[in-house]
Amino acid sequence: MTEPTSSTCSANAATGNPLSAARAVVLELRVRNHPGVMSHITGLFARRAFNLEAILCVPESDRTLSRMLLLVVEEPQLEQMERQLAKLHDVLEVRHRADLDAGYFGAIRW
């Protein structure tokens, strides 16, 4: 990744509300910054069939590492997803951001 990117995708478009506010969890990841890391993360969600609602990725100031915010839904498999994320060599840290919710992404001006 060479510049900040943000994208919002939702599997629940049918509801009309693009970001489900209910039971949303924001995960913060610290990852190595190189091309392909985002593919790794999004690919993991896709192949584990776990809903990834929104994703934000920004490099740290020295650009060797990046931070990511993932908006996911509190589902029974969430703990398993966190463990799978932690297994990735490019993921250095996984934690919950209890201070954030779907509203953080909802505030982005398009």
Partner: protein, 562 residues
């Protein structure tokens, strides 16, 4: 020192102790093959990159150390993907090195360009796209460290051609990558497990491939004895407890013993060690030992609770954890439970006709092979009925003597894996048991085998069908056979001779076992084509999606038991 990327790569591999690797050259990787010229590394030229990948797997499965396979860009890389995915599912340490088009051409749909990095993302433990010769010094040791540390797995390294050609000046070599020690398991987890085990009245051990990867077979056997616990093995763990051991309840799951499935439902404590509750082993998960307390030991934290909630998890190295448990576990005796296990084992034997009546029945054939081959022989299989018959009937007594594609179930695995096994275990006999469907999938490696002259016997269980497909269609699709028969059968013995190997087709009328013994007694590689009954079914069988205790068994009157 100043070297090209290609030379750096070769020297790094030598520093990792790699003395043999398998691959096929091509345009993008030519600079590396140039660097290999005159190197001490022995290059095995396969005839398909998938063969090279499985040759490397055979080496890794026997030695326990990461093995290397090579391919050029584009089709070379895509041909490796199956073997890499197979290594991922069975947790086999592999370093797959592919060349890529020069960096200036990446993304231009260049000749023999594919996004190897993107293609290998979901099927590797980790992967790299190397962007400079300097980066090789960091990436290669790291690739080996990742492949061999924790839960082993495949690592893919994609190297653009310009990186191989570039010169780089540097002062010192990096330390070779080595397996990292696993952090010790938390004392609280050990204490909790001990408390559970002390209370168990009907304990069982469920051993998986992690016991083999962790070199913990001896500790696992001692644990079984200490707990007086009947022990089941997944396909990947066969041999960790010797067949015939009083505590051995054989393989569990879809083609495991019926008595085994019944016993597991009666257990009050199931201790899973290095196993992952794969659906072939558990059957319908909701009905897999629903009453039992589950303890789960695994080096991979993500496996605990992935399929089945464990009441107690133990994360860490199997040998270390079992050692700590044994230090504090008092010996137990469960005579009634043992008697129940023995009763079930006796009531549900593997059914087959007596050898004198039907020497080529697959169960009899497997047992005959076991008697005829040396004690330390290595057996590889392909995938299908023959694989399950080997798992059920061939008595494995040591880990790393059965090499089989469990997780991905890849037809075409057996022959190249046997070649790799023979390379990693010089002097030991290797038998590849295959089927007439599977053997065709990497048949080109007979050329590699002939070239190397290794003591590999390929035994084809020939029923002129895709046997397990036919079986499923018979049992679950109303005998609507679709694309499961080979109306025209090749002459495999002639094909083997065409490749320059000894080949023999067994005549079922004339003391067939003697013919097989004669063929096996010969020097060097050979192929033995054995006709078996076309409509034979592997039983017991749990229907896909059903619970294990709903296993189908052979009809009663047909055969006597042993």
């Amino acid at each position: 020192m100043k070297h090209t990327g290609a030379t750096i790569l070769r020297l790094l591999l030598e520093r990792q102790g790699i003395d043999t690797l398998a691959g096929i050259p091509g345009g993008a990787i030519l600079p590396f093959y140039d660097a290999l010229h005159g190197s001490g590394i022995r290059h095995i030229l396969a005839r398909h990159e998938q063969g090279a990948g499985f040759i490397a797997q055979g080496m890794a499965r026997v030695s326990g150390r990461a093995a290397v396979c090579l391919a050029t860009s584009g089709p070379g890389a895509t041909n490796l993907l199956t073997a890499i995915a197979d290594a991922r599912l069975d947790s086999i340490p592999l370093v797959a090195i592919t060349a890529q088009v020069p960096q200036a051409l990446i993304g231009t749909d260049a000749f023999q360009e594919v996004d190897t990095y993107g293609l290998t993302l979901p099927i590797t433990k980790h992967n790299f796209l190397v962007r400079s010769a300097a980066e090789l010094l960091e990436v290669i040791p790291l690739a080996f460290r990742l492949a061999e540390s924790g839960r082993p797995g495949p690592v893919a390294v994609d190297v653009p051609k310009d990186v191989l050609l570039a010169e780089h000046e540097f002062a010192a070599w990096p330390e070779p990558g080595a397996r990292e020690p696993t952090p010790a398991c938390a004392e609280a987890e050990i204490a909790a497990a001990l408390a559970q085990l002390a209370r168990a009245e009907r304990p069982m051990l469920y051993l998986g491939g992690g016991i083999v990867a962790g070199g913990a077979a001896e500790q696992a056997r001692e644990l079984a004895r200490r707990l007086d616990a009947p022990t089941v093995c997944s396909l990947m763990a066969l041999g960790t407890i010797p067949a015939g051991d009083p505590l051995d309840m054989g393989m569990l799951g879809m083609h495991g013993g019926k008595g085994t499935s019944i016993l597991m439902r009666e257990a009050d404590v199931i201790f899973a060690l290095g196993a992952r509750f794969d659906d072939r082993a558990t059957g319908k998960v909701a009905e897999f030992c629903p009453q039992a307390t589950i303890l789960h030991l695994d080096i991979d934290r993500a496996e605990i609770g992935k399929i089945r909630n464990a009441h107690f998890g133990l994360v860490g190295d199997a040998a270390e954890i079992i050692g700590r448990l044994l230090a504090r576990l008092a010996p137990q005796q469960h005579p009634e439970w043992r008697a129940r296990a023995a009763e079930l084992r006796a009531a549900h034997p593997l059914r087959h006709p007596p050898r004198a009546e039907d020497p080529l029945h697959p169960v009899n054939l497997c047992r005959f092979l076991a008697e005829t081959l040396p004690d330390d022989a290595i057996v590889t299989t392909d995938v299908g009925q023959h694989q399950m018959w080997v798992a059920q009937a061939y008595p494995f007594r040591r880990p790393r003597t059965l090499l089989t594609s469990g997780g991905l179930g890849t037809m075409g695995f057996g022959l190249p894996a046997a070649i790799g096994a023979a390379l990693a275990a010089p002097g030991r006999r290797v038998a590849c048991v295959s089927g007439d469907g599977s053997i065709l999938m990497n048949i080109q490696e007979l050329a590699t085998l002939a070239e190397l002259g290794l003591p590999v016997a390929v035994i084809v269980f020939n029923n002129e069908h895709l046997g397990l497909v036919r079986q499923q269609q018979e049992l679950f699709y109303g005998e609507r056979y679709s694309a499961s028969r080979f109306p025209v059968s090749p002459d495999f013995a002639a094909i083997a001779r065409g490749f320059g190997l000894r080949g023999v087709r067994i005549d079922p009328e004339c003391d067939p076992l003697a013919q097989i013994a004669l063929a096996l007694a010969g020097e060097g590689p050979c192929l033995i084509d054995v006709p078996i009954r076309q409509c034979e079914n592997v039983l017991p069988m749990v229907p896909p999606g059903a619970a294990n205790h709903h296993t189908l068994t052979a009809p009663e009157p047909a055969y006597a038991h042993d």
